[in-house]
């Protein structure tokens, strides 16, 4: 029995790991029933894998049996792999016992599609319901909604789960029809719209009535696979932007495509595009926390993110005319746009300058990365950058290769690879 559960766990954790979402934050479920767990506020990463990703939730598939045959997926019907399926009680028992030992924040349950979407979804919901009602479990639950599942089941899922998500996976309809012939955009976007409406409706009801059952309070998220199909970064961030604006998503995750098969429809890569994925996350942050618009970062003439430098620096180099920015007088929004100044430093700058005039040394102590920032800012005459006189290429080269240039090991490694390849 123990060996069987061990085997199941290894198969079904392994098959679930390509879903990069791991967030456990934003829940509002308090432990008010003297039960187990508390999911209010900040998420917690309980461990980290050797690839440096956070382990916050017990992330497993209910089963890796699947009637679909999506080319990029290890669990696709035509792949000759060991199959396994948990029972409802096994998942409940694992979740409770992992949680009690402080291994995890909760459960992230997804599944291959067996029999029918509704049949699969019904099982996922049953597990969440059992945890909440029979075990008084207040930890975090993230359920994947199965494409094609009925609206009633999604509504019910939202009552027990803190977060719901539907993965778009492929950033364009064309790629979807080629690589995942059984899926279509409508089936993905419909439940996304239903969840959005459920959340909005729930908020409105909450404003009117005292006791309204919570509905997916941590919102919904999705994932896009990067590099399995030919979309440009511009297409991807436009899609992201529309998801944040149109569907009110909390997060869009990007997953660098990891080669799983030699299927002729897929690109023949041996390395996942990790830098590209990293640059997309940086762009995502710029749009969510730094006030950047998608079309400021990329446009049809520049449809791809620069792999060598981060998107904020790239924007600044293209827009040298707005610099230098004076840290002693500029608006917070402009200070946020200086390369090398993060959100925290920007806040500290506007707070500290009420007390004293800032100079380069204070900026360094506040956490500003002067190596990049010094080209783009001024401190009321104490420091005059020569940004106007240098060309884009000169600044770029000095930042990348000048003295004190420290590039991330990842970038160095992958740039070396490109150098070898070309």
């Amino acid at each position: 029995m123990n060996e069987r559960i061990q085997e199941k766990l290894s198969i079904l954790a392994d098959a679930a790991k390509y879903d990069t979402s791991c967030s456990s934050s934003g829940g509002k479920r308090k432990n008010e029933n003297k039960g187990l767990g508390n999911a209010e506020g900040m998420g917690i990463c309980h461990s980290y894998t050797e690839d440096g990703r956070c382990v916050s939730l017990l992330k497993i598939l209910l089963t890796n049996h699947c009637i679909f045959d999506c080319a990029y997926c290890v669990s696709r019907r035509s792949n000759d792999v060991k199959r396994a399926a948990f029972t409802v009680d096994e998942v409940v028992d694992l979740t409770i016992n992992f949680y009690r030992r402080n291994y995890i924040e909760g459960l992230f349950l997804s599944s291959g599609i067996f029999s029918s979407p509704d049949y699969t979804m019904e099982r996922l919901v049953r597990i969440a319901k059992k945890l909440r009602t029979e075990h008084k479990f207040n930890g975090y639950i993230h359920l994947k909604t199965i494409p094609g599942a009925s609206e009633e089941l999604i509504q019910e899922a939202g009552l027990y789960a803190d977060r719901l998500s539907v993965n778009i996976e492929l950033p364009s309809e064309l790629a979807l029809t080629t690589l995942a012939p059984e899926k279509n955009y409508q089936e993905i976007l419909t439940p996304m719209g239903q969840i959005r409406d459920g959340i909005i409706q729930n908020k409105e009801e909450k404003a009117l009535f005292k006791k309204v059952p919570a509905f997916a309070t941590a919102g919904q998220s999705t994932q896009l696979i990067v590099g399995a199909s030919a979309e440009t970064d511009l297409q991807i961030i436009k899609l992201t932007d529309s998801l944040y604006q149109g569907y009110g998503l909390k997060r869009v995750y990007y997953s660098g495509y990891i080669p799983v098969t030699d299927d002729a429809r897929l690109p023949q890569v041996t390395q996942p595009p990790l830098i590209r994925e990293h640059r997309l996350y940086q762009t995502d942050w710029l749009m969510r926390f730094y006030g950047f618009q998608a079309d400021e970062i990329l446009d049809p003439a520049h449809p791809h993110l620069d792999l060598e430098i981060d998107p904020k620096l790239a924007w600044a180099l293209r827009n040298r005319h707005v610099f230098p920015v004076d840290v002693n007088t500029a608006e917070y929004e402009m200070i946020l746009r200086i390369p090398g100044v993060g959100a925290r430093s920007a806040k500290r700058i506007v707070a500290a300058r009420r007390f004293a005039r800032l100079n380069l040394e204070t900026l360094r102590q506040l956490g500003v990365v002067l190596k990049r920032a010094k080209y783009f800012l001024t401190c009321q005459g104490e420091h005059q950058p020569v940004i106007g006189e240098l060309s884009e290429q000169q600044v770029r080269r000095q930042i990348l290769f000048g003295s004190g240039a420290v590039r991330s090991a990842l970038v160095t490694q992958q740039l070396d690879l490109f150098a070898q390849a070309s």
Binding site: N2, Q6, L9, S10, A13, D14, A15, K17, Y18, G35, L36, N38, M42, I44, C45, H46, S47, Y48, T49, E50, D51, G52, R53, V55, V74, V81, K82, L94, N97, F98, R100, R101, N102, Y103, P259, V260, D262, A264, P267, Q268, V269, T270, F289, Y290, G291, F292, D295, Y332, E333, L336, K347, R348, A351, A352, F355, A356, L358, Q365, L366, L410
Partner: protein
């Protein structure tokens, strides 16, 4: 031009500084060395004394570890709970409660300079007409922020890295050795979270623990039995399913890893080596890890038709 997206602006920029009542007696008497009993209340008592005697501190040290010059006469203050409470309440006249909490966190950080740093911060706040909390141009303000931030990180790490083991009598037991004295700060978190199980978290470096008995959480100390590690639970008293869940957790940990993305540097940055000692997933494996073979390697295969078409 699209409308600008809302940015979460820092609230402090918009809020005007609260009215201050600056002022504190000038410290005109010759500076002195102070000692106290090592508790936070003791330190607050010393703060009171400094202004009472108008003698700035040249040092403030816990009595047990006090090192003073040969001829120095350290002034030892007995902790006075009532005075300490007065000082604690009084701090709110010159700082908000967040800043006051930061000072407590600085104390728990066990930083070598913590007592004098707290004094200098309080003194600055007392004499300043403005709220000093965000005066990042001041080195002491930055240092307090920095220590409080490190404290927060250590607290958060302990909330993450505590690993309970279940014993036969249904106690969930964990041992930690944090860099800073975090137990007072994590008590609320664990009490809320594990309301339906008895648990004990023991700080082996500081020789005390937190114990929750299903109704309340208390600080507990153990009488040191001659040289024995007093809270080590021997394997015989574990719940019979304890080894199974430890094993399953290790199996899980090994299988969620994606070898193609291996990045040990990042791994260690998030989970520094010094914490591994008590992490179940970082203990030697009893069963060897066998990767699941679910991919058909692309390397070495003939270039596909799709690839050819592109060239």
């Amino acid at each position: 031009m699209l409308p600008l997206k809302p940015i979460r602006r820092p609230t402090s920029v918009l809020a005007s500084a609260a009215p201050r009542r600056p002022g504190a007696p000038a410290l005109t008497a010759p500076p002195r060395d102070y000692t106290y009993d090592g508790t936070f209340e003791g330190l607050l008592t010393v703060l009171f004394t400094i202004y009472d005697w108008r003698a700035a501190p040249s040092s403030i040290q816990p009595e047990a570890s006090a090192q003073v010059g040969l001829f120095a006469q350290p002034a030892h203050r007995e902790t006075d709970e009532a005075l300490a409470a007065r000082v604690w309440d009084g701090l709110l006249k010159s700082m908000d409660s967040e800043a006051r909490t930061r000072l407590y966190h600085v104390f728990l950080s066990e930083d070598a300079d913590r007592e004098l740093l707290i004094f200098r911060y309080v003194n600055l706040a007392l004499r300043s007409a403005q709220d000093v909390a965000e005066n990042y141009a001041n080195a002491d303000v930055r240092r307090v922020q920095r220590l409080a931030q490190q404290m927060f990180r250590e607290k958060h790490r302990m909330e993450a890295f505590v690993r309970f083991e279940k014993t036969q009598d249904e106690l969930f037991h964990a041992t930690i050795e944090p860099d800073m004295d975090v137990l007072p700060l994590i008590a609320v978190h664990f009490t809320k979270r594990y309301a339906d199980q008895r648990w004990l978290i023991y700080d082996r470096r500081r020789h005390y623990g937190l114990y929750y008995d299903l109704t309340r959480t208390d600080v507990v100390q153990f009488e040191a039995a001659a040289g024995r590690k007093t809270t080590d639970v021997s394997a015989t008293v574990f719940d019979e399913r304890e080894p199974l869940f430890k094993l399953l957790w290790q199996v899980y940990f090994d299988h969620v890893n994606i070898p193609e993305r291996k990045n040990l540097k990042l791994h260690r940055r998030h989970m520094p080596l010094r914490y591994w000692k008590y992490l179940s997933e970082k203990q030697p494996r009893e069963v060897r890890f066998e990767p699941i073979q679910n991919k058909q390697p692309v390397v070495g295969k003939e270039v596909s038709a799709g690839q050819k078409a592109l060239e």
